[in-house]
Symmetry: C2
Subunit: 227 residues, 2 copies
DNA sequence: CGTTTCCTTGAGGATGGTCAACCCGTGTGG
DNA sequence: CCACACGGGTTGACCATCCTCAAGGAAACG
C-alpha cells in the first residue's frame, strides 16, 4: 500500500514538473521509478549548508525558502521554491556540499532523484538536458534581475515591485505570503523599514491596509511608476 | 587564406573553452566547422538589449563586460567575460532578445556558433549538455553570491572582498582591471565612494597606493577580516 | 598643447539601520 | 475565564553610511 502510494506521488511529481513535460510517456514511467518522496512539516529544515548533495529535489506541494548566511552572519532570502520548482545546484554541480539552507514554509512534499540516476537520465535524454538548461537560464535571469534591482533601486522601489509581483491580479485583497522579517531579508532591508514604507504607501493612498499583512492595492499604476 | 585563418581561430577557440574540452577529437573537429569568429576593438559594443539572440558567443581573447540597465536608467555591471567564458543566456533561452549589454573592454576576439547549430550539437552530445549545466551552475552560484554580498555587506566590506579576489596572488603590485566607474557599478555604489574608501584603506595602512589604480596590499589578513 | 575623460576631495543632506519601547493577537496554564 | 508570556508588528529618536552636487586636479589622447 505504501508502495502504491509512492508510485502515485511519483507520477504526480512528474506531471507537475515542467522539465519532465516534454518527455514521452515511456520515459516518464522510467523517471517515475527513480523517484523517492518525502514530507516536511512547516518550519522543518530540508537541508543545511555543508550537507552533501546527493539528490535533485523537486517540490510537489508546499513552499520552501532558500536562504544563505552572509559572512557577517546575516540571513539573506534568495528565492522561494513553489510546486514544480526544483533545486538546481543540487544534482548537477561538482561541488558536493550545499551552499545554502532550505526550510519548509508550509507543509511540503518533495520528490528526490539520486544524483547518479539523474546523471544517467541526462545522458540518455538530450531533450531533458535542454529543458533543464532553459529552467536554469530562467533562474539565472531572475537572480540577475534581483541583483540589479537591489543595487540600483531604493527600498521603496524594491518594495513596490515586490508588492505588484506578489499580488498579481488579486489587487483587491491579498495576503502577504511571507513574514515581514522574510520580506525584509529578501529585499535586503529590515522589518522596521518595511513597516514604515507600508505606512508611507498607505498615507499616499497607494494601498489600503485591511489587516496585519493583508492589503488592497488602490493605485497599481502609481506603484509601478516608483520603479 | 582567410578560410585557413578562420579554421585556425576556430580551433583555438575550441581548445580554450572548458565546455568543449571533454569532447572527442572528432567531435571537436565537427564543432570547429560551425564556428564563426569576429573581432571587436576596445569600447565597441558586441550586442545591445533588444537584439535578437542568434548565436552562442565565446570569448577567445580579450575581455567583455556585461551590463544591465535598471528601470531608473542606472547601469549595473553584472559580470565580466574572460577568455574561455561564454554568454550563456545566448543560445539556449526561449526569450529571443538580449536582456543586457556586452561591451569590449579591450581588443577582443570572439567565436560564434549559430543557435540552431548549437541546439543540434546539444542533441547529439549529452556530455556537452552536462558541461554547460555545470558552467551554468557555477555562474548561478557566483551571481547568487554577489547578490548576498550586495544586500548584506557594507561598501567597505564589498570593496575589501573585491580587492582580494582581483589581486589574487599579486599583492605586491597590481593594477585594477576596471575603471573606478565600473568597479562602482559592480559593487553597487559610486566612483566617489570607491575613491574615499581606497583612501581610508591607505590611511589605515592596509594598502599602499603606487599610482592611480595601482596598489600594493600590505595587510591582506586585515582586509579579509572586514567581511 | 588643448581637450576630454577620469579621479579626487569637500560640504551637505537623504536614506535607511539600530536600539528601545510599546502594542497586539495567540496560545498556555492556573 | 483570566493572567501571562511570546512572537511579530509598529513607532519614535538617533545616528552612520553613503549619495549628490560641485569644483578642481591629474592623466590620457589626439
Amino acid at each position: 500500500m505504501e508502495a502504491e502510494m509512492m508510485v502515485h506521488d511519483a507520477k504526480a511529481c512528474i506531471q507537475l514538473v515542467p522539465i519532465f513535460q516534454s518527455l514521452s510517456t515511456k520515459e516518464k514511467a522510467e523517471v517515475a521509478t527513480l523517484v523517492r518522496h518525502h514530507h516536511f512539516a512547516a518550519g522543518e529544515s530540508l537541508f543545511t549548508a555543508g550537507d552533501a548533495v546527493t539528490s535533485l529535489l523537486i517540490v510537489a506541494h508546499g513552499q520552501v525558502k532558500i536562504t544563505q548566511i552572509a559572512a557577517n552572519g546575516k540571513e539573506q532570502l534568495l528565492y522561494l521554491l513553489n510546486p514544480g520548482d526544483f533545486d538546481g545546484e543540487a544534482a548537477l554541480f561538482k561541488a558536493s556540499t550545499r551552499q545554502n539552507f532550505g526550510t519548509a514554509l508550509s507543509a511540503t512534499d518533495v520528490c528526490l532523484i539520486r544524483r547518479e540516476d539523474f546523471q544517467k537520465l541526462l545522458q540518455r535524454s538530450p531533450q531533458l538536458a535542454l529543458n533543464i538548461l532553459n529552467a536554469f537560464g530562467q533562474r539565472l535571469a531572475s537572480v540577475t534581475e534581483q541583483t540589479t534591482r537591489t543595487t540600483t533601486a531604493s527600498i521603496e522601489e524594491r518594495l513596490a515591485m515586490y508588492l505588484l509581483e506578489t499580488a498579481g491580479k488579486n489587487t483587491a485583497d491579498f495576503t502577504l505570503p511571507l513574514k515581514k522579517k522574510d520580506i525584509a531579508s529578501y529585499l535586503g532591508t529590515t522589518p522596521e523599514t518595511i513597516s514604515r514604507k507600508f505606512r508611507d504607501f498607505a498615507d499616499a493612498g497607494l494601498i489600503k491596509k485591511l489587516a496585519v499583512n493583508r492589503f488592497q492595492i488602490l493605485d497599481p499604476d502609481q506603484l509601478a511608476l516608483m520603479e
